[in-house]
Symmetry: C2
Subunit: 222 residues, 2 copies
């Protein structure tokens, strides 16, 4: 254990301060941005009828803000708009098999963001953000698609959260056992986990002559 | 879209009822168990000081209950004990590139569980569950490790949640575009995403002659 080590920078608020495994905490923007950009899947927690709910959705980032979207009529977007939320992005990088069960761990990169979710209400900005989301997956994709309709725009809510109250945790490397346990004859090591992108599967209903975009062929995640 | 399709069984409670993309909802135990067993990473939402927090942790299952553990002194476990929580397991299976941005989607398997988190207080049951967790990753691992100490047991809280209020969502297959959009000349298809387990990395401090367990060599996830 390396509890004496200090985190890489200063937490921006009390609730953002990482307490458990605090030597893994990072508060610098480069680390936070890199994790958010590596994994669009996020989990957003909000309160509905006095009880916590967490829903998976896809996030994207611009500068110091993250964005996510959903059905305007849905519980998650309604309950989150202008409300306190907590958004978490987690990347599982491996299983850390230590010599003691207590030191079993996972290698991971995660970001937690707190704040009030703000709705993107401006029509042009909404479309610009949806285009950024789509193009973030596959460059140039938005302009290749059937143009968005007003009904679709109205059925979609985009929420956004400042990264002012964000923290990251990053664990890498070998197991960390208690000094005395290194004499214990158990196998220790890490099992790496990665996202693997498979071969794209064209829709059988694609029109003849329609070509797979380069951004689909080169798709990366993680 | 196939909104007219009905979910595969009946939701167990009002808040468990999936409303968005409800034709993807599944409430049968086999589906829910299979998703939980495929992905230990989960996100648990709880309320702390009146605000929502979501934290990533690892879950395991026995019968109709899920379990997770953490530092007894930590905010997450303290605020969750005997409190309402929402736990979510999400597996990202692919990106679904439709002909319209509005029909962009992800193939996924997810489970959401609601309920009051119950602490496992019985000493023997706590150890049995920790053994189940460790052995769930690598068969026979618990008995190979340095035995757990009382201090470690006391520093660990295990929480558990009934699967009575659980729902699943499963999306597979090709894009689903509006009928008229199938004439639009945009490429559509899916980009599959999988977890890939890398070659295990032995700790350089392993004692000579200590062998990698078979369960490490055969490790699977997803």
């Amino acid at each position: 254990m390396t509890e004496a080590e200090t985190p890489s920078s200063t937490p921006p608020s009390a609730r953002t301060t990482v307490n458990r495994y605090r030597w893994l905490a990072k508060y610098d923007k480069d680390t936070i941005h890199a994790i958010l950009d590596a994994q669009p899947l996020c989990h957003v927690a909000f309160i509905h009828d006095g009880k916590p709910i967490v829903t998976p959705t896809m996030q994207w980032r611009e500068g110091d803000r993250i964005y996510w979207h959903g059905a305007a009529a849905g519980r998650a977007m309604k309950a989150s708009t202008s409300a306190e939320v907590c958004l978490c992005v987690s990347i599982l990088d491996g299983f850390v098999m230590a010599r003691a069960a207590f030191n079993f761990n996972v290698n991971h990169r995660s970001v937690m963001v707190f704040g009030k979710a703000e709705q993107v209400t401006d029509r042009a900005e909404k479309e610009r953000q949806l285009k950024r989301m789509v193009d973030g997956y596959v460059a140039g994709q938005w302009d290749r698609l059937r143009p968005v309709t007003e009904a679709e725009m109205n059925a979609t809510t985009i929420l956004s959260l400042s990264l002012d109250e964000a923290s990251a945790k990053v664990r890498t490397g070998h197991p960390e056992d208690n000094d005395a346990d290194y004499d214990f004859p158990a196998w220790a090591g890490t099992i790496p986990i990665r996202f693997d992108v498979g071969e794209p599967i064209p829709d059988p209903r694609n029109l003849p002559g329609v070509e797979m975009p380069a951004g689909v062929k080169d798709f990366k995640i993680g």
